[in-house]
């Protein structure tokens, strides 16, 4: 069959045009801006400053490195908790009991609500409810949440577990349902205990889903913005500021657009490194399967 070149380009152009204009060109301009002292005001002078912005990230302004440390620690904790809870929920709701389907919906629901609304909702819980609990019980740990870096960190973590574990649950359910019933029955007839079944049958067969769940939760926590903005706004004193919010504040708070763009490029390299690792590992697994 002869295919016309014209058709190829006519069908491709709308997507390619919007993609080029909105993603590709701004990204290329962004590489240029990262080497300038651009202040974000249209038409204002900007000067080429070489690698100064990148040097500044590591010397002049330690907020980015702090945000990187915070984000990394947060992501590790979030990934572990979200996946553990998500897996547990998946195991629970795939058992046959009345209400299991309804519970599936309940656990998944927070995931649909936007990060901003979630952040404000939990702000209310931590600020008002926790304070009331503290007053009623006299327990100091419930007082002053979000006003302190540690509880701010835990607060963000709780929010993230609440939001993402239902998402991971859905990913894990899809995998659990692919485990043939006959395999489980055979193991059960051979006298495998519940724990043996989990360790030797279910977990190994769940590996592909774990890879997906792991990297989905890493990239979700690394790029978190809305929840951070709505829950703590990075406070107190930038102590709970994550990378995306740090970049945002550099630009729109301090008007250092060139500097913020340099940070964004470092951020992209980190995120891309995680993404590429994901692709490599997933591909390798696909070969093994």
């Amino acid at each position: 069959m002869k295919k016309s070149k014209a058709r190829f380009w006519i069908f491709l152009t709308p997507a390619l045009f919007s993609f080029t204009l909105i993603v590709l060109i701004p990204m290329l301009i962004g590489f240029f801006y990262a080497f300038t002292d651009w202040n974000g005001i249209v038409g204002s002078d900007m000067e080429f400053v070489g690698f100064q912005n990148f040097v500044d990230i590591f010397t002049r302004d330690d907020s980015f490195l702090h945000a990187l440390g915070f984000t990394a620690l947060f992501s590790v904790c979030a990934v572990v908790l979200v996946n553990l809870v998500g897996f547990f929920l998946a195991m629970l709701v795939t058992q046959k009991f009345r209400g299991a389907t309804l519970l599936r919906g309940v656990f998944f629901m927070p995931n649909l609500i936007g990060g901003l609304l979630l952040g404000f909702t939990w702000q209310f819980i931590f600020v008002s409810i926790f304070e009331a609990v503290s007053k009623a019980t006299g327990l100091k740990i419930f007082s002053g949440w979000l006003a302190d870096p540690q509880t701010g960190f835990i607060g963000l973590l709780i929010l993230t577990v609440w939001q993402l574990s239902g998402y991971m649950m859905i990913v894990y359910i899809a995998q659990i349902q692919q485990i043939p019933e006959s395999v489980k029955e055979a193991a059960s007839i051979d006298g495998a205990s519940g724990w043996q079944m989990l360790k030797s049958i279910i977990l190994p067969l769940m590996m592909p889903a774990f890879t997906i769940g792991l990297f989905l939760s890493i990239s979700n926590s690394f790029k978190m913005f809305d929840q951070n903005l709505a829950l703590t706004q990075g406070g107190p004193y930038k102590s709970t500021e994550m990378l995306a919010l740090n970049i945002y504040n550099s630009a729109f708070g301090a008007n250092e657009f060139g500097f913020a763009q340099a940070k964004a490029i470092v951020f992209m390299i980190i995120v891309a490194a995680i993404g590429v690792t994901q692709l490599v590992i997933t591909k390798r697994r696909e070969v093994e399967m």
Binding site: L12, L16, G30, Y33, F97, V106, G115, L117, K223
Partner: protein, 280 residues
């Protein structure tokens, strides 16, 4: 023996249900507490945040007040129109592109597909600042510009998902139609699109959820009060009424309700979309 086994099986079912109900309550607690406090006045929230509203603290005033402050109808319609149009356009341009990218096995075609796929690694923050500068220069800081931006950002993921789907549709049908003299657009809309129904729904659901909830991009692009979307208005509302949890709780509930309704109607597709989207 048999009876004992039956017994323990039943016992286990009850245990699962109990654990499930406890966890379910924990998951619903934040929403429950919002609903509860949305029916109290400020004094009621301040004096007793956990308990039920009583005669002195019960009020239904919060909802109409928050409704007004959020300019709910307008913000809701802005969000709805932007979400629907942007999603429809993303589906259209991406399906068209993905189809030719699959059917033309040239080097150009492969390179362009890789470009789309690789761009999914670019975080929004990397493009955000130059894009805002560029948008203000050419004067597209409005809902039309916003829809166009969603097309640019959304097309990569949609193309990758459509590409994977179309690869598995045999080309014979299309070839036969071409021999019968079917033109490109008729071929695409009458033969290819109907075959793509399931993946179109999946990608549509993913995009609706993303665009409906998106805050950052509209906050950078929309600069007229009349154009504000629901998330934008919610953010401003919180700045304006800090510590006014009577209004805030009812406002949050009103923002959450449309999402829950959407979920109830499209539950099947949402779960499928999440699963397929995750695996891609």
């Amino acid at each position: 023996m048999e009876e004992k086994k039956q017994h323990s099986k039943r016992g286990r079912k009850v245990a699962y249900a109990v654990v499930g109900i406890v966890l379910g309550c924990i998951f619903l607690f934040p929403i429950y507490i919002l609903v509860l406090n949305s029916f109290k006045n400020t004094k009621g929230i301040f004096t007793d945040v956990i308990g039920f509203p009583n005669a002195a603290t019960f009020t239904t005033e919060n909802y109409p007040n928050a409704f007004k402050a959020l300019e709910y109808v307008r913000s809701f319609m802005n969000s709805l129109i932007i979400t629907v149009i942007a999603t429809a356009l993303i589906l259209l341009i991406s399906a068209m592109a993905a189809w030719v990218l699959v059917r033309y096995k040239t080097k150009t075609s492969k390179v362009i597909f890789l470009l789309f796929a690789a761009s999914m690694l670019i975080p929004f923050q990397c493009v955000m600042l130059p894009l805002v500068g560029f948008a203000s220069r050419i004067g597209i800081m409005n809902p039309t510009g916003l829809v166009f931006m969603y097309m640019g950002f959304g097309t990569s993921m949609a193309i990758v998902m459509f590409h994977g789907f179309i690869k598995n549709i045999p080309a014979e049908l299309e070839e036969a139609a071409t021999i019968d003299g079917c033109g490109s657009f008729r071929l695409f809309f009458l033969i290819v699109v109907p075959l793509m129904k399931t993946i179109l729904v999946t990608v549509a659901v993913l995009n609706v959820m993303w665009i409906w909830n998106d805050y950052l991009l509209p906050s950078l692009i929309i600069n007229k009060p009349g154009w504000q979307t629901l998330p934008l208005k919610t953010y401003l509302f919180f700045g304006q009424f800090a510590k006014r949890w009577d209004l805030a709780s009812s406002g949050l509930i009103m923002c959450i309700i449309p999402i829950i309704i959407f979920y109830l109607f499209c539950q099947k597709y949402i779960v499928k979309g999440i699963t397929d989207g995750a695996i891609k």
